[in-house]
C-alpha cells in the first residue's frame, strides 16, 4: 500500500553483479512498509538479504543496486552522501543482524556501546542518556547490570536483546531485522521475536523482518512478502497464509517437519 502513511517505498529495485549477462540477483522488487510488521520470506539465495542491504545503501561490491524509486519518508535514499547515511542509519533507520556476537564490539562494554548510540545521534547529558538506556533495557527485559558486561559475557538471547535495545534507543521510524533469531536456540526464537514485535508496536516503528521460516514469522507479522529467485512472487496478510494458492507459498508453509509428518515426504518446490 504505497500511500502517504508508508515509511519505506521500494519500486523496481534491482541488484546485479558487475559481470555482464548475469541474471539479476534481485529483479524488479516493489513493496512498501508503513507502521506495520512486514515479513520478507524466502529460501537461501532468494535475494532477501540483498534487498535489505540495498535499502540501507550497503550493497557489497561488486554488486550494484538501482531502483525506480527508493524512499524513506520524504528522503530519497538514492541521493544520499556518506554523511547523510551516517546520520540516518542507527537513528531513524535501524538494522538488526543474525548474530549478536558479530554486531557488538568485543572490546567495549555494553554500556559504552549503548551510550555511543545516543551520543552519535543526539545531544543528551550523561544523566539523560542513562535514563533512556535504563528505560530501554527494562522494556527489553534486561537488568541494568548488563551495562558493565562485555559482549562475550552475554548469552545469545541476551546479546540479541542488547542489539535490539541499541537499535531502538533513537526511536527509529523503521527497523530492518535480517534473520534476527537464526543464531539462537529454537526455544528462544519465539521469545525474542515476541519482544521485538512488542517493542516495535509500542514505539510506532515499522518492521521489515527477514526470515526463511514462514510459519514462525506468520505468528508475529501483519503481512508477508514471499521472495523466490530475486522476485516477490506472493504477497498476503499473515492470517491468510494457510489459504494461499501460490504453489511456492504452500510449499514453504508446509515444509516444517513435525510428529504428524512422520513417514511422509515433505513438500519440496519444483519450479518445473
Amino acid at each position: 500500500m504505497p500511500d502517504e502513511a508508508s515509511k519505506l517505498l521500494v519500486r523496481e529495485l534491482t541488484v546485479r553483479s558487475a559481470a555482464p549477462g548475469e541474471r539479476a540477483l534481485v529483479d524488479g522488487v516493489s513493496f512498501a512498509v508503513g507502521t506495520e510488521r512486514v515479513a520478507l520470506v524466502g529460501e537461501s539465495g532468494s535475494g532477501k538479504s540483498l534487498t535489505a542491504r540495498a535499502i540501507l545503501g550497503l550493497p557489497s561490491p561488486p554488486l550494484t543496486a538501482v531502483a525506480a524509486e527508493l524512499r524513506f519518508g520524504a528522503i530519497d535514499l538514492q541521493d544520499l552522501d556518506a554523511r547523510a547515511w551516517a546520520a540516518l542509519r542507527g537513528s531513524r533507520l535501524s538494522l538488526v543482524l543474525q548474530d549478536p556476537r558479530r554486531s557488538l564490539n568485543p572490546v567495549l562494554t555494553v554500556g559504552w556501546q549503548l551510550h555511543e548510540a545516543l551520543q552519535l545521534h543526539g545531544r543528551y547529558s550523561r544523566a539523560e542518556r542513562l535514563e533512556r538506556i535504563e528505560a530501554m533495557l527494562h522494556s527489553a527485559g534486561l537488568a541494568p547490570s548488563v551495562l558493565s558486561l562485555y559482549p562475550q559475557q552475554l548469552s545469545g538471547g541476551m546479546g540479541q536483546r542488547v542489539v535490539l535495545a541499541m537499535m531502538l534507543l533513537n526511536g527509529p521510524g523503521l527497523l530492518i531485522a535480517d534473520e534476527p533469531t537464526s543464531a539462537l536456540d529454537v526455544s528462544l526464537r519465539d521469545q525474542v521475536l515476541e519482544l521485538m514485535c512488542g517493542l516495535v508496536s509500542a514505539h510506532g516503528t515499522g518492521l521489515l523482518l527477514i526470515s526463511h521460516d514462514l510459519q514462525q514469522v506468520a505468528r508475529h507479522c501483519d503481512r508477508v512478502l514471499i521472495m523466490y529467485r530475486g522476485r516477490i512472487v506472493d504477497t498476503c496478510p499473515a492470517a491468510a497464509l494457510p489459504l494461499s494458492t501460490h504453489p511456492y507459498t504452500r510449499t514453504l508453509w508446509s515444509s516444517r517437519p513435525n510428529g504428524r509428518t512422520y513417514g511422509t515426504e515433505l513438500p519440496v518446490f519444483d519450479p518445473t
Binding site: 537461501s44 517437519p257 513435525n258 510428529g259 512422520y262 515433505l266 518446490f269
Partner: protein
C-alpha cells in the same frame, strides 16, 4: 528386537584442569537393529559427545559398549569392519569437507583407502543416489550450496556400506527448504539401505519427523525415552 547398540554403565568425564567434570555417569542406552533413534536436548547436554563416543572419535570413557557383534574397548581405535560399518555426518558440511579437494576426490578417497575396485564409478553412483548430477563431481565445496554440500557429506558416509549412520545436527545449518530436501533424502535412504540411524538434534520437529524412538537428554542424563505415539504429538 535384537540390539545393534548396547551401552551400559557408561562413564565419561572431561579433564578440565585439576578436577575432571563428569558428564555421563552410569548411562544406559539400547538401540535396536534398523531403528531410527533420536537424541534430543539443549546445547551442552552431552548429545554430541555421546555420538562421538559411539563413533569412536572420543575414546576416553569407561563402561561397556557393544556395537553389532563387537565389544568396544575404551582407549582403542576402531579396527577392521567397524571402520566401514559406522559412518558419521556432521552439522557443518563446509567444515567437514576438505576445501581444496573436489567432490570427486572427497568421494573416491575412502574407496581407495579400503581397496574398492572402480572407485570413480562407485563414487558417481553414490553422488546420483543423493540427488546430485555427475557434473558436480568436478566442483569444490565452496562452489556448492549448503544443501548440496550436506548431500555430498551424506554420499560420502554411504560409500562403504555402513550399518550404522550417525547424524549430528545434519540440517541445523540449512534453511527450511533445504532441510526438507535432506530429511526426504534420509527417509528414502533409510528404506533403501538396511541401516540403523542415530540422529542428534535440538529441533523437536526434526526428531519427531524422522525417528522411531528418541531419548531426551539433560545435563548428561537421559531423562526419558519417547516412543512413536508420544513423538506423534510433537
Amino acid at each position: 528386537m535384537s540390539a545393534d547398540i548396547a551401552i551400559e554403565e557408561l562413564h565419561f568425564s572431561f579433564n578440565a584442569g585439576e578436577r575432571p567434570v563428569t558428564l555421563f555417569d552410569k548411562l544406559k542406552l539400547t538401540v535396536g537393529r534398523g531403528e531410527t533413534f533420536g537424541i534430543l536436548g539443549p546445547s551442552g547436554c552431552g548429545k554430541s559427545t555421546l555420538l562421538r563416543i559411539i563413533a569412536g572419535v572420543q575414546r576416553h570413557w569407561s563402561g561397556r559398549i557393544r556395537l553389532f557383534e563387537h565389544a568396544i574397548v575404551p582407549g582403542a581405535r576402531f579396527k577392521g569392519a567397524l571402520r566401514c560399518e559406522i559412518q558419521m555426518v556432521f552439522q557443518d558440511p563446509y567444515a567437514s569437507l576438505h576445501p581444496l579437494h573436489t567432490v570427486e576426490r572427497a568421494l573416491t578417497e575412502p574407496l581407495v583407502v579400503h581397496g574398492v575396485a572402480d572407485a570413480g564409478t562407485v563414487a558417481l553412483e553414490r553422488l546420483q543416489e543423493v540427488g546430485l548430477s555427475a557434473h558436480l563431481a568436478r566442483r569444490y565445496p565452496r562452489e556448492l550450496s549448503g544443501g548440496q554440500r550436506q548431500r555430498v557429506a551424506i554420499a560420502r558416509a554411504l560409500l562403504l556400506g555402513p550399518r550404522l549412520l550417525l547424524l549430528d545436527e545434519p540440517t541445523s545449518a540449512l534453511d527450511l527448504s533445504a532441510q526438507a530436501e535432506i530429511l526426504n533424502l534420509l527417509n528414502r535412504l533409510k528404506r533403501s539401505h538396511d541401516m540403523t540411524l542415530i540422529l542428534v538434534s535440538h529441533d523437536r520437529g526434526v526428531i519427531a519427523h524422522l525417528c522411531d524412538r528418541a531419548a531426551v537428554m539433560q545435563g548428561g542424563r537421559i531423562e526419558k525415552i519417547l516412543h512413536r505415539s508420544e513423538l506423534s504429538q510433537v
